[in-house]
């Protein structure tokens, strides 16, 4: 009896493992196929592979529309990441450390942009600026991206902040530090992982944003995702696979490298001062 039960458990566990492997394959197979196809020598954007070639990458480098869209997206994402991190960290600080009327309502309001579908956010903002006769500008697009990224930065920072005891800051204050310098010298360094993580996430959210950007972009401006969409409307060319591969390298490479740098930084610091970080 007992062995049969154990046998059942083992089969259930194997089934779980099998489905897990399938789900991981499901998540990565299309991406792998795209990367492989970007090196295809064939004229058509599909299988079978007819040979190895970098021609689609050369073509991509000569495509001015794509390069312009890439630059636009890069700038928007950089500005979004910097501003969102600054305002998000400060907001999270206030939400964790302070007690003020309306705090609960604000913490709910601040995550709404992540839950409301982008189509609705997109239309809403357009209707607003239409009703006051304002044109769509780059500033509007960037502020919109900041709105979309703020919830994530605030949530990440809040989670980290909750693990930092306030006695550290209060000790600095009682020793005569100003509010600002206690934040800069004590709180901020302890928050570094959240700050870097939040900034990277804000960058990718902005760089990747499609639906809302379709509504908000100024006339004639293409961001990388909207450019890809309009290229897809014409045809599936192998150039798109190459473009996809470059984008994957940028958006996966930056966080990975950032994470590695962060890890080695904290390791270096730990070696310098053996005190534990928090808790």
């Amino acid at each position: 009896m007992k062995t049969r039960r154990r046998e059942e458990g083992r089969w259930a566990w194997r089934l779980t493992g099998f489905i897990t492997v399938c789900v991981y394959i499901f998540m990565f197979a299309p991406i792998v196929a795209t990367v492989i196809l970007s090196f295809n020598a064939s004229m058509f954007g599909g299988f079978p592979m007819t040979g190895f070639s970098l021609q689609w990458y050369y073509k991509l480098m000569a495509n001015d529309a794509v390069l312009a869209a890439f630059r636009t997206s890069l700038w928007i994402a950089l500005v979004t990441a910097m501003v969102t991190t600054a305002v998000g960290v400060v907001t999270a600080f206030a939400l964790v450390r302070f007690d003020f009327p309306g705090k609960q309502a604000l913490s709910t309001l601040v995550i709404l942009p992540a839950l409301v579908p982008e189509t609705i956010l997109g239309v809403g903002l357009l209707v607003l600026i239409k009703s006051i006769d304002q044109p769509r500008t780059m500033l509007l697009l960037v502020l919109g991206h900041i709105l979309l990224a703020v919830p994530y930065v605030v949530l990440i920072t809040q989670a980290r902040m909750a693990g930092i005891r306030r006695v550290y800051e209060e000790a600095a204050l009682s020793l005569g530090a100003s509010r600002f310098s206690s934040f800069r010298e004590i709180t901020l360094p302890l928050l570094v992982p959240a700050v870097v993580g939040g900034a990277l996430l804000a960058f990718t959210i902005s760089f990747d944003n499609t639906s809302a950007s379709l509504f908000w972009r100024p006339a004639g401006v293409e961001t990388m995702p909207t450019q890809i969409l309009s290229m897809l409307k014409i045809s599936i060319s192998p150039e798109i696979n190459a473009l996809g591969t470059v984008m994957i390298l940028v958006t996966v490479g930056i966080p990975l490298v950032g994470g590695l740098i962060l890890q080695s930084l904290t390791r270096l610091k730990r070696r310098g001062q053996p005190t534990e970080e928090a808790r």
Partner: protein
């Protein structure tokens, strides 16, 4: 007379949250309020409307079965997607939580990587799998199983598959976070009292992980029902969802009052589901799932 500032002064808190608060008011609250007002404006011709108040848009929405059909289809597709996500996503979440594999972090990292890859690219990459020249068709033809490529793309199944693909990490992470919160001694206790592993799972682990599953279901449902890009890339015209309808009404027909009406409808309907969820579960689980 000036009051002295206390250590955790509410006034300082307000100053700190001011930038984000202003952004939320002017880019989230106000737009939705103006949009709600716009639903009562009169549509004259493409791109032109007057502020003469009318209920014509709402009347059109409630009487024309075209709109309610779209809404029902969108809710159905969202529900199917969310349920499939829940069923398929629970296994990996459980596996990652329960495994004794040393490089567990790698499995978690692989879950986060898709968030970094452009959503547009992840969606169109399915064309390389399902398309006429995609992996499946080319392989089947090479093997001599079929002669003509199977039409797997540009139908509702492809749309659901694409949404499943982008929502799966959300689901797995939500369930995983909830599993991580379970006190493992409860399971050993159940086992030592004579539960089989299946019973322990059914009586202890599963009920305790339900909040995460529910949060994942809500998130997947809302994001699927609000999607715009996936139906456009992987579906045919017949597979358009409510988001596509809104986009076409505003950007194509330039009928702003009707577009605003449809947006408010989607907002209210999805908000209703979110409200029911928070009524029973509270916000905290969603917050945990989003924050990672």
């Amino acid at each position: 007379m000036k009051r002295r500032w206390t250590l955790y002064d509410p006034r300082l808190a307000w100053m700190l949250v001011a930038p984000v608060l202003l952004l939320l008011i002017f880019f989230l609250v106000l737009p939705i309020a103006v949009m709600a007002a716009y639903t009562f404006f009169t549509f004259v011709t493409a791109g032109v409307e007057t502020s003469a108040l009318t209920t014509a848009n709402w009347h059109e929405f409630f009487t024309d079965s075209y709109y309610s059909g779209f809404l029902l289809k969108t809710l159905r597709v969202g529900a199917i997607t969310a349920l499939l996500c829940g069923v398929l996503g629970y296994f990996p979440a459980y596996f990652i939580w329960a495994t004794t594999f040393r490089h567990k972090w790698l499995l978690l990292l692989l879950l986060i990587v898709p968030f970094w890859i452009s959503f547009t690219i992840r969606t169109f990459s399915w064309i390389n799998i399902l398309g006429e020249q995609g992996v499946i068709n080319v392989a089947l033809i090479k093997l001599g199983i079929i002669n003509d490529p199977l039409p797997m793309l540009y139908n509702e199944g492809a749309v659901i598959l694409g949404m499943l693909h982008f929502l799966m990490p959300y689901m797995i992470l939500n369930v995983y976070v909830s599993l991580e919160g379970i006190d493992r001694t409860l399971i050993s206790a159940a086992r030592s009292m004579g539960c089989t592993s299946a019973q322990a799972f059914r009586e202890v682990t599963l009920p305790l992980s339900l909040p995460g599953l529910a949060a994942g279901l809500l998130l997947c449902f809302v994001l699927a029902a609000g999607s715009y890009v996936t139906p456009q890339l992987l579906g045919s015209g017949r597979d358009a969802l409510f988001g596509n309808l809104i986009y076409d009404t505003i950007m194509g027909e330039l009928n702003w009052p009707m577009g605003a009406t449809l947006s408010i409808v989607l907002f209210v309907v999805l908000g209703f589901f979110a409200a029911v969820y928070t009524r029973y579960m509270g916000m905290s689980q969603i917050v945990k799932g989003l924050g990672g």
